[in-house]
């Protein structure tokens, strides 16, 4: 397929638009000097990603993304930002001084990944089917082929839950300790 063909498909215009949005958001996540802005730009990235999933007929995943990631994770982030009383305004010192090496490294990573992808897949196309992947299929898969990882992940979540509580708990003061024991 040539560039002309690609451009002529309307799907690709949509894709391009969303991709640009995502890229921009992603870029701003890592370069924003405002903590809350960074978090919110992540929301944007995730939203764009969800849209892309929809384009790839992965409806369930898209909505899971929205629900879990944007709905919970980012909220959690905002909680974290608030609780740590991080300066919510402009903060000049958010980035490290040495930025060249990370830039080179990330550029190298990109180049390597891109090259690998292009080298491997070339101009392979995705067949855009009208039907989205049904949730039923995913459900069956989760409880069929991937039942073990499914269960394990539930343990992981349990561990994270308990772990989070335990880590973040305030240590009892000696007085409170005494009270607890005498009861």
């Amino acid at each position: 397929m040539s560039l002309v063909d690609w451009v002529s498909e309307p799907v690709n215009w949509v894709f391009s638009a969303i991709a640009l949005a995502v890229l921009f958001s992603g870029f701003r996540v890592v370069t924003s000097q405002n903590l809350v802005h960074a978090a919110l730009f992540l929301v944007g990235t995730l939203g764009g990603t969800a849209a892309l999933f929809l384009m790839l007929s992965a409806e369930f995943v898209a909505w899971v993304l929205v629900l879990v990631y944007i709905g919970a994770v980012v909220v959690l982030f905002l909680f974290g930002i608030m609780i740590t009383r991080a300066p919510t305004g402009l903060d000049v010192g958010l980035d490290a001084d040495e930025r060249l090496v990370p830039a080179i490294l990330s550029a190298a990573v990109f180049v390597m990944l891109a090259w690998a992808s292009v080298d491997a897949f070339g101009l392979r196309e995705i067949a855009t089917t009208g039907t989205a992947t049904s949730t039923e299929v995913i459900g069956e898969s989760l409880l069929g082929r991937f039942v073990v990882p499914f269960e394990v992940v539930s343990f992981v979540l349990l561990a994270a839950l308990i772990g989070g509580i335990t880590i973040a708990r305030r240590d009892l003061t000696p007085v409170e300790e005494q009270e607890r024991l005498s009861v």
Binding site: N12, F15, L23, G26, V29, V30, L35, A39, L42, L46, T49, L52, F53, A58, F60, V68, Y69, F77, G80, I83, T84, A86, G93, L94, D95, A96, V101, P102, L105, S106, V109, F110, L113, A114, S117, V118, F121, L123, R124, E125, I126, A127, T128, T133, V137, I138, S141, G144, R145, F146, P149, V156, L157, A159, A160, G163, G164, I165, I167, A168
Partner: protein
């Protein structure tokens, strides 16, 4: 649509995430960058799935798992950040360099 357009997009997002990981001083922002990287991976997975068209939606299931684990990881990570902040009154990662020579 080309497969590669997704992959390259994901690569770019991943690269951004790496950059953010290495540059940001605030721990929370580092975690944020990590989320960005995970998200890039998700795009990859789903894109592959759409190409492979497995009968069990393997890529998508994988992506779900990634999301789940990411959520768990954020929970723990922020708990730790909380603790650090409580002890040091700062979320600056540069100050956490006690285990040095």
């Amino acid at each position: 649509m080309l497969l590669n357009q997704f992959l390259i997009l994901a690569a770019a997002l991943f690269a951004f995430g790496v950059y953010g990981l290495l540059v940001r001083r605030n721990i929370v922002l580092i975690l944020l960058s990590v989320e960005l990287m995970l998200n890039a991976v998700n795009i990859n997975l789903v894109a592959f799935e759409s190409v492979l068209a497995t009968s069990q939606a393997v890529g998508q299931v994988f992506a779900i798992f990634v999301i789940t684990v990411a959520a768990a990881e954020v929970g723990i990570g922020l708990a730790i950040v909380l603790l650090i902040f409580r002890n040091r009154k700062s979320a600056n990662v540069d100050e956490l360099s006690l285990m040095r020579w």
